[in-house]
Structure formats: C-alpha cells, structure tokens
C-alpha cells in the first residue's frame, strides 16, 4: 500500500514534468536468472510507474555486459544507465570524463549520510557521485547444512576459526564432505577473503587489500592467513575442481556436505529447494562479535550525454533506485541487503536481518577485493591464490608473488 501511494505520488509529480510519455531509459545489466530478473523488475516497475519508459537490455555474464556498455560509450551510442560492480571497474570511465554525475540527487537524498563508507568511497570520486549503488552482497557467509551437522553429531555452530576446523574434522569422520567447494578461481578468492577477514582481522585486511602494504604481506600474520587458507583445501572433495557454486550448494541441500563459504546469493538455491534458514540450513556471517561484514554489490553508472531528456531519466532513475521501499523490495528478491540500514527489515529473512544488524556498526564494514583493487590487480591476486590452492607452492613464494602483483 505504502509503495503504491509513493509511486502514485511520484508518477503524478513526474507526469507534470514529462509530457505524455516520460523519459525513455535504456538500461544494460546482466541480471538474467530467475531471481535476478524478478529483482530488476522492481526497478523497471518503479521507473515505469513514475512515468518513464524502461528499455531493458539484459546481457548474460558480467564481463560481457560491461564490455558492451564500454564499447557503446566509446562508440558514441551510450545506454542511459549501465550496471557495474561496486568496484573500480568504472574508474577509468570517470577519469576519461565519460560519465554524468548525479550530484543533484545524491545531495537531495543525502546519500553521504546513509551509504556505508566502502560504498561511498567507490561511488564518490573527487567529490562527485558517479554511480547509484543498489545492493550489498556479502560474499563470505559460512553456510551449513543442519542435516549434515546432526549426522556428524555437531551440536553448536562454530564461533572461531579453531572451532570451524574441529567441526570440519567431525564431518570428515562422519564420512561427509566437510567443505563444499567449487574449484574455480573466484570461489577460491572468496574462501581466501573469508579467512583474511575472520582470522587476519580488519586491520590486516585493509593493510593488504587497500594499502597493498608489502611489509604486511610479507609478515607472519599474513603468512598464517595463507597457511590456514591452504589448510582448508584438505577438507574439499576430490571432484571439486571446475564445479559451479550452485552445485556445491546442492551438496549442502542434499546433506552430503557440511559447510560452504559463499555469498548470500546462495539463499536463492536453498529457496528453490524449499529449504528455510534456521530450519534446514544455518548462516554465519563471521566469527566473533567484531567480525567484519564484507561488502560487494552492484551499481548503475550514467554515461555522459547532453540530451536533456536522457539526463532527466538518469536522475529520476538514481533517485528511485535508492528509495527505501524499492531497496527492500529489490533485495528480498535478489538475496542481498539494502545499501541503507534505515529500512523496514521485518519482511527480510533472518540471515539478511543478521547482516543489517552487523552493518549498523561502521567499524565492521569492509569492502571486498574489488572495492580496493583495480580489476587488473584483483585478477593477478586471484591467479596466485588459485595456483596456491591447487598446487604445492611454498608459502613464502606466494607472499612474494602477491607483494609484487599488488605493487603496480
């Protein structure tokens, strides 16, 4: 009801501005799966209800969608808005002056007051707002199957890294796959991020990924993180290499495996199998009361144009996407949490509520690797980590390689 009233109010307001048919907006994004298209429909509905015309250009696979967007921007035929990750992926576009800023909207709605620090630092470049952040995904949740835990005789969920290893040992002894893992580089990066955040702590995390501090990377604390990361590999089944993340989740759903370290998009898989958080599976955001909440997510950027109609569309869209009701509606369908904590959480699931509660503590907000590193550095880091995970490489060499990969 509230949403309807809001959209009604908005639509009458905008209808006065935009004559008959409102501003047309072509939007490039890569949300093509079931839950994802349902989520993006929240935006298109809100935009259409406000009097605009949303033209959907969905291109599957993030890399593809982004390169189409970049090529069209360079080619002089830009879309009205294009999806990127909450990352440095679009920094080159900003520096080349190829994006419009949405300062008017951001200042009007006070983005700088409610956006988490890591997100704010990504969308605000040199004092201007160049992107509208739409959601927060947390990539390093520890999911566990209650059925598997019961079978292995595990009563309580682990609260420290040591307890996690004890749990994994019990699962192994019970003949289950302790850690469900898909052996693809990005999934190995997620496991690494989880260990760095939970064992290394926020300080080391920022020193390594944000400051790229060679001393910290070569230090003993980080060495311990790498060794623990590698230690987890012993709990993965032999058939893991190449496995997709959702196939790993399926191992949890069927109770064949105990734990998976993965992002909150996993909830979609559980939901499809009619499993509920708290009843069939558990979610642990991290270990200890100070465990960081890792932020990754999606934003929309608004390519440069001088067309007044298009600029109007861009501003309208930026405003709508961050509106509290749209935010909640979108995140419920997407499995993420809103970029603002001042929303009504009652309709969200217990994992999302747990996430939003953690997000209220500013000191626990951290970006993922993409937020701090450019795509090139991030890729090099991922190459080194996946090689370390799969091969026997001396940990000192890994430290040296990471230090030199993050140097440039």
């Amino acid at each position: 009801m509230k949403l309807k009233l809001l959209t009604l109010a908005l639509s009458t307001g905008f209808a006065a501005l935009a004559h008959a048919a409102g501003p047309k907006a072509e939007v490039i994004h890569w949300w093509t799966s079931g839950g994802e298209s349902a989520a993006v429909k929240t935006f298109s509905d809100a935009y259409n209800a406000a009097g605009g015309v949303w033209v959907d250009t969905a291109i599957s696979i993030g890399d593809q969608a982004r390169s189409v967007a970049v090529n069209r921007i360079i080619g002089g035929n830009p879309p009205t808005a294009a999806q990127f990750n909450t990352s440095k992926q679009f920094l080159d576009l900003v520096e080349q002056g190829m994006l419009n800023n949405v300062d008017d909207v951001a200042l009007r709605d006070g983005w700088d007051k409610f956006l988490p620090e890591p997100v704010l630092n990504v969308v605000r470049v040199k004092g201007h707002f160049y992107a509208a952040p739409v959601n927060i995904h947390m990539p390093t949740w520890f999911w566990y199957s209650k059925a598997a835990f019961k079978k292995a005789g595990i009563a309580a969920e682990p609260r420290t890294m040591d307890e996690l290893f004890a749990v994994l040992d019990k699962l192994k002894a019970a003949g289950l796959i302790p850690l469900a893992h898909g052996g693809q580089p990005w999934q190995e990066s997620i496991v690494f991020t989880a260990v760095l955040a939970n064992l290394g702590g926020a300080d080391l995390y920022l020193k390594v990924l944000r400051d790229r501090d060679a001393k910290a990377i070569q230090g003993d604390a980080f060495k311990n993180v790498l060794l623990t990361f590698k230690r987890l590999q012993a709990y993965v089944d032999k058939a893991a290499p190449g496995r997709n993340w959702n196939d790993a989740t399926a191992l949890l759903i069927t109770g064949k495996a105990g734990v998976q370290i993965m992002g909150d998009w996993t909830k979609g898989e559980f939901a499809q199998a009619k499993q509920l958080p708290g009843r069939d599976y558990g979610c642990i955001a991290g270990f200890g009361p100070k465990s960081p909440y890792i932020i990754q997510g999606d934003v929309f950027v608004f390519p440069k144009t001088t067309n007044a109609e298009a600029i109007k569309a861009q501003k309208m869209m930026a405003g709508l996407m961050l509106a509290p009701t749209t935010q909640v509606e979108f995140s419920i369908r997407k499995g993420s949490i809103p970029v603002r904590t001042d929303v009504d959480v009652s309709r969200m699931d217990i994992c999302a509520q747990q996430g939003l509660a953690i997000m209220k503590d500013k000191s626990r907000q951290l970006g993922n690797g993409e937020v701090y590193l450019n795509p090139d550095q991030n890729g090099s880091l991922s190459d080194i980590l996946t090689a370390y995970w799969n091969k026997n490489v001396p940990v000192e060499k890994v430290q040296k390689d990471i230090a030199s990969a993050l140097k440039n």
């Binding site: 080159d92 576009l93 290499p241 090139d376 890729g379 090099s380 799969n390 440039n408």
Partner: protein
C-alpha cells in the same frame, strides 16, 4: 647463394627494365585504362590487408608500449609490459602449455586423420555415412561439445563412474581434475574434433593420386603399406603442408575448448595464452598487457612459420628453374 646473385643480376639487367618501361610507355589509352581497372579491382583487398591486418598489428604494437588500461593512452612505458608479462607465472605456464599442446595436437591429428583417410580410401561400405560421422565433430561448436566432454571426463558422473558401475570399482580416470594431466584432456577433445577435417583434406589428396601408380606398384609386388609410406605420402606433400598450417593456427588460437572444459583450471594448470589475452583485454581492463601478450604470440608464430614458408618458396623456385 650463387644462384641468388645470378637471379638478381638477370632481374636487374638494364635491358629488362628498359623493355618493361617501353611496354608501359607504348600502351594505348584503352590498354592503360584496362590496367588501371585491374589495379582498382585489387584496391579493396589491398586496403583490407593494410588497414585490417597490418594496421591493427601496428596499433597493438603501439599500445603494448603504453600504460593503457580500459582505454588507449599515449603514455609510453618502454618494455615494462613485456617485463611484467615474463615475470608472470601464469603467462609462462600458458606458453609452456601451448607448446606441449601444439606438438601433441598436431602430431595426433595428422596421424589419426591420415589413418582415417586411408581407411576410407579402401572403398569401404557406406563411405558417405562414415565420412560424415568423422567430419561431424568439426561442424559443431566447441562451446557445446566441450561441455559434453567436461561431463564425460568428470570423475563424479562421467566415464570413471560408468566403468566403476560396470564392476571395476578401482578404475580411475580423473585427468580433468589432475594438475599434471589436465592439458592432455584438452588434447584428446580437440583431436576428436579436428582429425575429421584432416581426414577430409587428406582423402581429397589420396583421391587425386593417379590409379596408374597403384597399378605399377601392384605389378612390382610392393606391399600396400609401403606404397602409402614411401610413394603416396611424399606425393601428398602440398596437402600435408596445408593441413599443418590449418592445425597450427588452431593451436595458436586455442581458447574455446579450454574455456568450456576447464576454464583454465584446476588452478592455472590448463591456461593458454589466448585466454590470458582475452582475460586482460576485457575483464581485467589492461589492454596494454593484452597487446604485449598478443605481440609475443605473433612473433612466436612468425618465428615458426617464416622458415617453413621460406623453405616452401625456395622449393617452388627450384621447381620453376628445373
């Protein structure tokens, strides 16, 4: 050496140049027009070669010396990108994989393709059907067949599982998840795909061989295998050279099979240069490093193919002189 000098001397003989000039000078307007038309007809092709091939190569070369990221920049950094390239473990492993893959793939395709062609050449029944069966893999996109190969090779639900269920519980065939063996699975799958093409080309070559040669060999009582090895094979020289060039280009650009079967994994064990370049060109937004990689690849190809082409052109010249 001596022959080359002689050749140059005859080419540059004053009388020859004079004759050539005189021919052009004495052309009637109509003939001159005809000459111009033929040049004009060549123009689209020539400009394609100049712009689309040479132009882009030069552009990539230029980019590879800059610090370009998403966009081309004009800040030159010398050999820095190349230095980074050869400090990179994944790139070095990719080159190593490419060499191993190339040798095995070309050798296996040649042998298998030749045997298939010989087999079909025995006037077997249902030749048309068999030819189609062998050639069919080549007609399908590897993006699809690669996925099927991935399933077959997956130890959990592929060949290994099938054989185990047939009553051999200790049977192991898990190359695709094995660091050291994974590259061979790429060889197997791509040989399956390409050997049909080799067969088709060599079969055409075999069919072009004069029946008389076979008759003569039969009269002399030479065993069939010997005729194939010592007479037919050398006569197929030009066809084999074509096959080699085709396979070689397939090796250099190998990408789709790796992406669809292993995505370069486990870890980085089955990475290839083309995938490295594609990753850096788009996802990692470093076109300078990608360009440096493609220049290295181009130079490698030239270094391998140039002597081969030179030898061929020399052989042709010798034939013409004889």
């Amino acid at each position: 050496m001596c022959r080359w000098k002689k050749y140059k001397r005859t080419l540059l003989q004053p009388s020859r140049i004079e004759t050539a000039l005189r021919t052009v000078m004495t052309l009637k307007p109509k003939q001159l027009f005809r000459q111009l038309v033929s040049w004009a007809a060549l123009l689209p092709l020539a400009s394609t070669v100049l712009v689309a091939y040479l132009g882009t190569v030069l552009w990539s070369l230029n980019i590879s010396f800059t610090n370009s990221r998403t966009f081309p920049s004009d800040q030159y950094v010398g050999w820095a990108q190349y230095q980074r390239l050869f400090d990179n473990d994944r790139w070095l492993l990719s080159l190593q994989n490419l060499a191993l893959y190339g040798v095995l793939f070309i050798a296996a395709c040649m042998v298998l393709g030749f045997l298939l062609a010989v087999f079909i050449d025995q006037k077997v029944m249902a030749e048309g059907a068999l030819r189609t069966v062998f050639l069919y893999p080549y007609a399908m996109s590897f993006v699809a067949t690669g996925l099927v190969w991935q399933w077959l090779l997956n130890p959990g639900n592929g060949i290994q599982q099938a054989v185990r269920q047939m009553g051999y519980p200790d049977f192991t065939f898990d190359w695709i998840i094995d660091q050291d063996m994974v590259i061979y699975t790429i060889v197997i799958a791509t040989v399956w795909q390409a050997s049909g093409l080799v067969m088709a080309l060599l079969l055409a070559g075999l069919r072009g061989i004069d029946e008389e040669i076979w008759k003569a060999a039969r009269i002399d009582g030479i065993p069939t295998w010997r005729v194939y090895v010592s007479i037919v094979l050398p006569m197929l020289g030009p066809t084999i050279a074509t096959v080699f060039v085709l396979l070689f280009t397939a090796v250099v650009k190998v990408f789709d099979s790796v992406v669809s079967m292993t995505q370069g994994g486990p870890g980085t064990a089955s990475e290839v240069p083309a995938k490295f370049i594609m990753d850096h060109l788009f996802g990692r937004a470093n076109i300078a490093l990608a360009s440096a990689g493609s220049m290295v690849l181009l130079l490698t190809v030239l270094a391998l193919v140039a002597p081969f082409l030179y030898a061929r052109s020399r052989a042709r010249r010798r034939e013409e002189q004889a």
